[in-house]
C-alpha cells in the first residue's frame, strides 16, 4: 500500500501494469491446455495432411513424397467408394429417423406427468450402455435361426431375413441398431429445448386461435425449438458418419463389403495393412466431410433459425 501511495507513476501506467499482470496470469492458466492442444490436435492434423501426400508405410523405413497420387487412387478405389456410399446410406437413415423419433418421444414425454421419469430412463438407457456389449445382444436378436426377432416373425408367418448375414439387409440392420442407440440422446436434448419455451407463448397462441395441438406445435414449438433442432441435426449426422463400433464388432465390413463404412476402411487400411500414407489421405477426406457439415450448420442453416 505504501509503495503505491508514494509512487509517482501515473494511473495509466498502473493500469498497464495491472493489464500485463492479468495477461500473464491468463497465459499461465491457459498454457497446459495450449501445449496439449498443439501436441494432440494441431500437430497430428498437420501430420495427417502431410502423410497423405506420401507413401509412408509402418515398418518400412523409406518413404517419399507422391503428390496427389493417394487422392487420385482414392477416386478409383472401389472399396473406398463403396465405403463412402454405405456411410451416406447409413447416415441418411439413422440421422433423420433418430431425430424424428427423438423429437416425438420428447413431445410425448413432456406432456406426461406421472410416468415421465420412467419413460425418460427407458429411452435413454441405450445411450448409457456399452455399445460393443449391446451390439452382441443385437447379434443374438438378429440371429437368422435362433434369434428372437425371426422367431417372432415366424409366429405370424413371415420368413425373417438373415439380418446381419446378407449383403441386402446388413446396412439396414446396422441402421436399426444406430437408431436404437441415438434416439435417447436426441430426446434429452429436445426435452431441454422444450423446457426452455416460455409457457406464455402457448397461452398467447391459444388466444390467437391456435386451438389444436398441431397448430400450437406449428406456431410455437417448432419455431422456438429451431436452434435445438439444428444442433441435434448436426450432432446426429456427425455421429452417424462416425459409425464404427457396431461394424467392427458384428460384420467387419462384410458380407462382401456391404457394410464397409468410412472409419472401418480407414482403420483397416491404416492399422491392419499399415498403409499409413494412403489411410491418411482417407482421413483427410473424412475431416473435410466433418468440416463441410459444421460449416453448413454455422453459415447456411444458422441464418434461418435465429429470429431477431
Amino acid at each position: 500500500m505504501a509503495s503505491i501511495a508514494f509512487d509517482t507513476v501515473s494511473p495509466k501506467r498502473l493500469a498497464d501494469v495491472h493489464a500485463r499482470n492479468e495477461a500473464r496470469t491468463a497465459w499461465l492458466l491457459a498454457s497446459p491446455a495450449i501445449v496439449l492442444m498443439i501436441v494432440f490436435i494441431l500437430l497430428p492434423v498437420i501430420a495427417v495432411i502431410g502423410l497423405g501426400f506420401t507413401n509412408f508405410e509402418l515398418g518400412i523405413d523409406k518413404f517419399r513424397f507422391v503428390g496427389l497420387d493417394n487422392y487420385s487412387h482414392l477416386f478409383t478405389d472401389r472399396t473406398f467408394r463403396k465405403s463412402l456410399w454405405n456411410t451416406t446410406v447409413y447416415t441418411a437413415i439413422v440421422a433423420p429417423v433418430s431425430i424424428v423419433l427423438g423429437l416425438g418421444v420428447a413431445l410425448l414425454i413432456e406432456s406426461e406427468t406421472t410416468a415421465k421419469s420412467f419413460f425418460r430412463t427407458a429411452y435413454f438407457l441405450p445411450v448409457a450402455s456399452l455399445i460393443v456389449a449391446m451390439a452382441t445382444v443385437w447379434q443374438y436378436l438378429f440371429h437368422p435361426t435362433i434369434g428372437p426377432i425371426n422367431a417372432l416373425l415366424a409366429t405370424v408367418g413371415i420368413p425373417g431375413p438373415n439380418w446381419l448375414g446378407s449383403a441386402g439387409t446388413v446396412l439396414y440392420s446396422l441402421s436399426i441398431i444406430g437408431v436404437w442407440q441415438s434416439v435417447g440422446f436426441n430426446m434429452v436434448l429436445f426435452l431441454a429445448g422444450l423446457t426452455a419455451i416460455p409457457r406464455e407463448l402457448y397461452a398467447a397462441a391459444e388466444v390467437d386461435g391456435a386451438r389444436s395441438a398441431i397448430d400450437r406445435f406449428r406456431l410455437v414449438t417448432w419455431p422456438m425449438l429451431a436452434p435445438t433442432t439444428l444442433f441435434v441435426t448436426t450432432i446426429s449426422i456427425i455421429n452417424a458418419v462416425k459409425v464404427f463400433e457396431t461394424v467392427q464388432t458384428l460384420t467387419e465390413g462384410g458380407p462382401n463389403r456391404a457394410s464397409e463404412v468410412l472409419l472401418f476402411t480407414i482403420y483397416h487400411e491404416g492399422f491392419v495393412y499399415l498403409h499409413v500414407g494412403y489411410a491418411s489421405a482417407m482421413t483427410v477426406v473424412f475431416l473435410v466431410i466433418l468440416m463441410v457439415l459444421t460449416f453448413l450448420q454455422y453459415n447456411v442453416l444458422d441464418k434461418r433459425v435465429h429470429y431477431s
Binding site: A23, A26, W27, L29, A30, P32, A33, I34, L36, M37, F40, I41, L42, L43, P44, V45, L58, L108, E112, A115, S117, R120, A122, Y123, L125, P126, A128, S129, L130, I131, V132, A133, M134, T136, V137, Y140, H143, I146, G147, P148, A151, T155, W180, V188, L189, A192, G193, K242, F244, Q248, L263, I266, G270, V276, S280, T283, F286, L287, L290, M291
Partner: protein, 278 residues
C-alpha cells in the same frame, strides 16, 4: 378441452410411449433371459423369456473364468478416471482465463477450440499411433489416456458456464486478496459443480464406450478396456455360446448402467442447465 378427450389423449400417449419403451428395452430383456439359459434352450425356444432351467450360475462362471472381468473393469475405471481428472484439471483454468481475463491470445485460442471440436480421435489416430509406436508406449495407460487429456469440448462447455457467472463474485474475491489460481480453486470450481457433473457423465460415457483408440494401441489383454475385452471374448468364443456371451455382456454393461440409474436426475439437470446457458 374436455376431460374426456384429455383422458383419451393421455391413454393414447401412454400406450404409444409404453410400446416404444418395450421395444427400446427388449434387448435388455432378452439379454437377461438368454444369460440364464442353457445352450440347447437358446437353440430351441427363443421367445420364452423365463429360462426353464436356471443356468445363470454356469453362464456367469464361464464368463468370469474366460475373461479377466476384474482386470477389464479395473482398466475401464482407471482409464476413464484418469482421463476425466486431466481433462478437468487442464480445461477449467483455461476456460476461466478465456472467460474472465483479458489477454491477446484469447481470440486465437477460441479459434483453436472451435477447430478442435471438429477433430475427433479418428482423425489424429494415425500420426499419434506412429508417435506412440516409436516412443515404445503402445500397451500402456499412457497411450490410452494421454491423447484425451485435452478436451476442447470441456473448455467450450466450461467457458459458456463461466461467462454466465457474475463478475462481482470474482471482484469480491480479488478485493479479499485472493490470487487468480486461488479464485479458480475456491470460487470458480465450487460454483461450477453442475457443469463438472454434466461433463463427467459425458466424458465417462464416451471413453467407457470407446473402441477405436484402445483397439489401435492395445494388443495385450492386461491393458484391455471393457469393450476391447469383450471383443477378445467374442473372438475366443468360436461357437454360438450366447448364454455365456450374454452373461459377459451383462457384467460389462452393468457398471455404467447402474451409475446412470443412480445419477440420472443430476445428469438431466446438468444437460438442461448447460443447454440453457449455452
Amino acid at each position: 378441452m374436455s376431460t374426456a378427450t384429455f383422458n383419451t389423449g393421455r391413454a393414447i400417449r401412454v400406450t404409444v410411449l409404453s410400446l416404444g419403451a418395450l421395444i427400446f428395452l427388449s434387448p435388455y430383456i432378452f439379454m437377461l433371459s438368454a444369460a440364464g439359459k442353457t445352450q440347447s434352450e437358446i437353440f430351441t425356444s427363443a421367445l420364452s423369456l423365463v429360462p426353464q432351467t436356471f443356468y445363470y450360475v454356469a453362464n456367469f462362471t464361464k464368463a468370469f473364468s474366460r475373461v479377466p472381468m476384474g482386470t477389464l473393469l479395473w482398466n475401464g475405471v482407471m482409464v476413464c478416471g484418469l482421463i476425466f481428472f486431466f481433462q478437468v484439471l487442464v480445461a477449467i483454468p483455461c476456460a476461466y482465463a478465456m472467460a474472465k481475463l483479458k489477454f491477446r491470445a484469447a481470440k486465437l485460442l477460441m479459434a483453436m477450440v472451435m477447430l478442435g471440436l471438429l477433430v475427433p480421435i479418428h482423425a489424429t489416430a494415425l500420426p499419434l499411433y506412429v508417435a506412440f509406436d516409436s516412443a515404445s508406449l503402445l500397451n500402456s495407460y499412457t497411450a490410452l489416456v494421454a491423447p484425451f487429456s485435452i478436451s476442447v469440448f470441456a473448455i467450450f462447455m466450461f467457458l459458456q458456464f463461466f461467462r454466465a457467472m457474475p463478475d462481482d463474485l470474482i471482484h469480491a474475491a480479488r478485493l479479499d486478496g485472493m490470487s487468480e489460481i486461488g479464485i479458480v480453486a475456491r470460487v470458480i470450481v465450487p460454483n461450477a459443480w453442475p457443469a463438472v457433473t454434466a461433463f463427467a457423465i459425458f466424458s465417462v460415457v464416451a471413453h467407457w464406450n470407446d473402441l477405436y483408440w484402445p483397439l489401435i494401441v492395445i494388443s495385450k489383454q492386461g491393458f484391455a478396456t471393457p469393450p476391447l475385452g469383450l471383443m477378445y471374448f467374442r473372438a475366443a468364443e468360436a461357437g454360438d455360446d450366447y448364454g455365456a456371451l450374454m452373461a459377459a455382456t451383462m457384467v460389462i454393461t452393468l457398471p455404467l448402467v447402474a451409475a446412470f440409474l443412480l445419477a440420472q436426475k443430476r445428469f438431466v439437470e446438468g444437460i438442461t442447465m448447460t443447454g440453457l446457458k449455452g
